[in-house]
């Protein structure tokens, strides 16, 4: 065991865990967060994603000791009780089915839009491609991203039925 310092969603934590413990288990089991989830443990599905220094990272294959920047999880996206526009777009589009994968979908989309507020359709599809959904909510997820792009740009979003992915 060794002392590890983590900053998660604005709060600092000091933990005593093995340095090679995957970040995912520390977030879930030591810090009681529910956003990042186990889907594959292999960096193939995105269920475990968190944002570290602006990038969407697979926490399932990230040793806790290697984390340098501040971590933001799904729970940390809302500010002062207000949902992030990406999360709001998810509700407006009613994007999830079971919802288990949606942490990965939302975190990946959030990191994309923070870097590139006006992605092309192709950029959206490419960036999201490593984030899987077995309920096949993909079309709505893409619609939700386009809706978020519009709200973030201050324009009023299109009617959900007219949004074409």
């Amino acid at each position: 065991m060794s002392r590890i310092e983590l900053k998660v969603n604005g709060r600092s934590h000091t933990l005593d865990v093995e340095p090679d413990t995957p970040l995912l288990y520390v977030l879930r089991n030591d810090l009681d967060l529910r956003g990042p989830r186990f889907g594959c443990g292999l960096g193939q599905c995105g269920a475990c994603k968190v944002i570290i220094s602006g990038a969407a990272v697979f926490s399932c294959i990230t040793p806790v000791s290697s984390v340098k920047g501040e971590i933001t999880t799904l729970e940390g996206l809302s500010q002062n009780g207000r949902l992030d526009p990406v999360q709001q777009a998810w509700i407006d589009e009613q994007a999830p089915q079971c919802g288990f994968c949606q942490n990965g979908q939302i975190i990946t989309a959030k990191a994309l839009l923070d870097k590139n507020p006006h992605p092309t359709d192709a950029q959206i599809r490419e960036t999201m491609n490593g984030t899987l959904c077995r309920c096949m909510s993909y079309f709505r997820v893409q619609s939700a991203i386009k809706r978020a792009v519009k709200t973030m740009a201050g324009r009023s979003p299109a009617d959900p039925k007219e949004v074409v992915a």
Binding site: M1, E18, T21, P22, Y25, R28, N29, D32, L33, R34, G35, R37, F38, G39, C40, G41, L42, Q44, C45, A47, T73, L74, E75, L77, S78, L83, Q87, W90, I91, Q94, A95, P96, Q97, C98, G99, F100, C101, Q102, N103, I106, D121, I124, R125, E126, M128, N129, G130, T131, L132, C133, R134, C135, M136, S137, Y138, F139, R140, Q142, V164, A165
Partner: protein, 804 residues
């Protein structure tokens, strides 16, 4: 709606009195009925009490009592308790819509608790697209009866006869003097209804009140936002994976490295000194390790040295030889024996003969033949099976996302030899349930280990376990023959299906669940398995249909276990039948849509669900939405790198009718198929929540696309080699069409029936999609591929072979 900080008294009273003690300890008295009330255990561990003191017994709530279904609170809100689970299609919201309507209470003043065996009645859980079609009816009748009883109470209270009263949003008022009013909460909060319902099973349970007619429904029919979505988006939902209990430990399985392997040794010293190590458990060929922390259990399971002996004969052929094997295998029993002797009823069906197919074939102008192959396809849940089992106080409480909590309770009680009322199952949300995930395996395993070590145990399957060892949808081999007369009409049809489905695994069976198999349990007779016939309304005068079931050489302790996968026997025969109809249309040089339409219209009689009329309606709606132009397939093959084409397929499931059109682009250099556009015209009767329904249909359609272009279980002669998302590909963001049209046709062709009922919608849209894609590929390329999935290499090889 507002939160209530304790379990309603009525519910407690319906349950056994001394369970109160347990409820307190498990934190159930602090149930949060917040935004999303799907599970009763929300906040359980945050009470940090000691569940070891929880007593039981856990009796079933009596479905004959209104109090088991509906509780009205002091603040004039209501909680509904239903025995269903919602794996993500929004059915929980639909139940609230319907029950709010029948009870006459504002939708946003209600919440709904689902699927926990000790506080909700046994409606099985979910499955079979039955949520609204069957299971919403008892809910509606009970809510209508509660309204009737409240109205009578209101009449007494206000001193006015019932017919002079009106109800609006749970307030009863005198029509002539609306200031004379009383709320439901004032009448009954804190008290019980004490009304016994009639009906000898839960699907027949009823009171005296009539349910409302469709035009009287206010919330049903509206696109109310799903109540589970906000907490899934902000990270606040507590899933089954999030439950934590004091003293809980983590378990991981050590699966046999090949099918039917015999465990010959465990070297515990290989893990003993690992940090957090607690125990290796083993019985028969079942092996698991338990550690204090999750990552420790994962490491110990990987590091544990075990030795295994291979079976004497190969358990199955390799995946590339599967269809040859199925072709030459002997069916489980001869279907011809079925006639006249029910004892010999064969798995499969038939032969079913209409008209005189032999004569029609011998006088045919043209005979068309085709053989279609559909491999095993996995449930392959997004995340591995998991459960938490708590053995405190000699009881067993299981937290699971399994769709069928009630049979899980019975199964685990039988498996552990515990009394039924010592076991309870708490259903919580989890990765999607499309028929039969491995969630139940994990729950049985967690429960067994928990009892062995006397601590709460969390079991989680890893990715490779889930992909390799979950249950599979059966492979099908379908031979078809059709006879055209000189006028280009299909006058005879021969459908011969063979499924590889012997020892089909049921739900939560203590003698077929994987841990039981690995521990050596064998039932005397493996489950028969089944094949199925196509579903259509084509008037083909002469037909012969046969279904047979074959089994793999070894049926037990194998990762090639078959079980129900979303529309269990639907997509396979439909891929064959609807591809074949397309082949026949092409042979007759007819437009494939018109060819189908003609055959549906040629039928004189409709059935009780009006499926003929509704088939015509959905075919028309799909064609109009797409902008279908009449011409035979294939279209003249283009010169460029990308070939485009369109295909149609149609079928029904139960009383729901679906027609789908796919437009594809085929890359002739890579064999890559992209479905650029999809149209799904869908008729599932009365629609409770149009937007939620559209979303479910859209995702179901895409699930069909995934099975058409990606999904196939691969294996060598020892084990399943599909083990992760690369070896078991699934649909991804880049596969998604640029346009999807979902058309809710949902009209009622019966003018004499004011109340169109809802039919199932969780599965039907998947069924025709495989054929729609195959037909579109044919239209684009002129090449008929009779084998799914249409993976790049397979398509490219077919194009090359045809010189395209």
């Amino acid at each position: 709606m507002s939160s209530s900080d304790k379990l309603p008294k009525q519910i407690e009273d319906v349950l056994v009195t001394h369970r109160r003690e347990f409820l307190k300890h498990a934190g159930l008295l602090a149930v949060s009925f917040g935004v999303f009330g799907a599970t009763a255990i929300e906040g359980a561990e945050s009470q940090s009490s000691n569940p070891a003191e929880s007593p039981g017994p856990y009796r079933d709530p009596d479905f004959h009592q209104i109090d088991s279904w509906i509780v009205i609170h002091e603040d004039n809100t209501a909680t509904f308790y239903v025995g269903k689970t919602d794996p993500g299609q929004g059915t929980g919201t639909c139940f609230r819509q319907l029950m709010s309507d029948e009870l006459d209470i504002a939708f946003d003043k209600t919440t709904c608790i689902m699927g926990s065996t000790d506080i909700t009645v046994d409606q099985v859980g979910s499955g079979g697209s039955s949520a609204l079609e069957r299971d919403s009816w008892p809910m509606r009748r009970v809510a209508a009866e509660a309204r009737r009883v409240l109205l009578e109470m209101g009449s007494d209270h206000l001193g006015a006869p019932v017919d002079q009263l009106a109800i609006s949003d749970a307030v009863i008022a005198v029509k002539a003097n609306p200031s004379k009013r009383v709320t439901y909460g004032e009448l009954i909060a804190g008290k019980k209804f004490h009304v016994t319902l009639t009906g000898n099973n839960i699907n027949r349970v009823t009171g005296q009140a009539k349910t409302k007619s469709n035009p009287e429904l206010k919330y049903a029919g509206q696109s109310i936002q799903r109540d589970d979505i906000p907490s899934k988006v902000d990270g606040s939902l507590k899933w089954a994976v999030d439950v934590k209990l004091p003293g809980m430990v983590h378990a991981r399985n050590v699966k046999p490295p090949f099918a039917c392997a015999k465990l010959t040794g465990i070297d515990e010293s290989s893990v003993k000194s690992l940090p957090g190590f607690i125990k290796v458990l083993s019985k028969g060929n079942y092996v698991a390790v338990v550690c204090e922390r999750e990552e420790q259990a994962i490491r110990a399971a990987r590091q544990l040295k075990t030795t295994w002996q291979k079976p004497a004969t190969a358990p199955f052929p390799a995946s590339e030889d599967l269809f040859n094997y199925m072709r030459s295998a002997t069916p489980v029993s001869d279907p011809r024996l079925a006639a006249g002797n029910p004892e010999l009823r064969a798995p499969g069906f038939g032969p079913m003969v209409v008209g005189n197919p032999d004569a029609a074939f011998s006088s045919a102008a043209k005979i068309i033949e085709g053989e279609y192959e559909i491999p095993f396809q996995g449930h392959t849940a997004f995340a591995g099976a998991h459960a938490l089992a708590d053995p405190s106080n000699g009881q067993m409480t299981v937290y699971t996302n399994d769709m069928k909590s009630y049979s899980m309770r019975r199964g685990i009680a039988a498996f552990l030899g515990m009394p039924h009322d010592s076991v309870r199952v708490v259903w919580m949300m989890g990765p999607q349930g499309f028929g039969r995930s491995a969630a139940e395996d994990a729950a049985f395993e967690a429960a067994w280990i928990a009892r062995e070590i006397g601590r709460p145990v969390r079991m989680q399957w890893m990715r490779d376990e889930e992909t390799a060892w979950d249950t599979k949808g059966p492979a099908f081999l379908v031979k078809m023959r059709g006879a055209l007369d000189s006028g280009g009409r299909l006058v005879a049809y021969d459908f011969h299906a063979r499924s590889c489905d012997h020892n089909h695994i049921g739900y939560n069976e203590p003698d077929s669940v994987l841990i039981a198999q690995l521990m050596g349990t064998r039932r005397a007779k493996p489950a028969a398995g089944s094949a199925a016939m196509p579903s259509d309304m084509y008037a083909i005068p002469n037909r012969k249909m046969v279904g047979e079931v074959v089994g793999l050489p070894i049926l037990w302790e194998t990762p090639l276990r078959t079980g129900n996968l979303r529309d269990p026997n639907g997509p396979q025969p439909t891929f064959a039948a609807e591809s074949f109809i397309d082949e026949v249309a092409a042979a007759a040089k007819a437009d494939p849509l018109e060819f189908r339409m003609k055959m549906v219209k040629a039928g004189k009689d409709d059935d009780s669900a009006f499926r003929r009329a509704r088939s015509i309606a959905v075919l028309k709606a799909a064609a109009e939405t797409y902008g279908w132009d009449s011409r035979p397939s294939p279209k003249p093959i283009g010169k460029g790198k990308i070939l485009t084409g369109r295909g149609i397929a149609y079928s029904f499931r139960g009383r729901t009718v679906v027609a789908e059109i796919a437009e594809v682009e085929v890359d002739r250099q890579t064999g890559h198929v992209w479905a650029k556009r999809l149209v799904c015209a869908h008729d599932c009767g009365f629609v409770v929540n149009p937007e939620s329904l559209r979303h479910t249909i859209e995702c179901c359609t895409l699930h069909g696309l995934s099975r058409a272009i990606h999904e196939e279980v691969q294996f060598d002669t020892e084990t399943v080699t599909s083990r992760d998302w690369f070896s078991s590909p699934t649909l991804r963001h880049t596969d998604i069409p640029e346009r999807i049209d979902i058309v809710l046709v949902n009209g009622d062709p019966n003018p004499d029936r004011p109340d169109l009922p809802p039919y199932g919608a969780g599965e039907p849209a998947l069924k025709p999609m495989l054929a729609a894609i195959g037909n579109a590929i044919y239209d684009a390329t002129g090449v008929r591929i009779r084998r799914v999935p249409f993976r790049n290499d397979r398509v490219l090889a077919a194009l090359k072979a045809a010189g395209v």
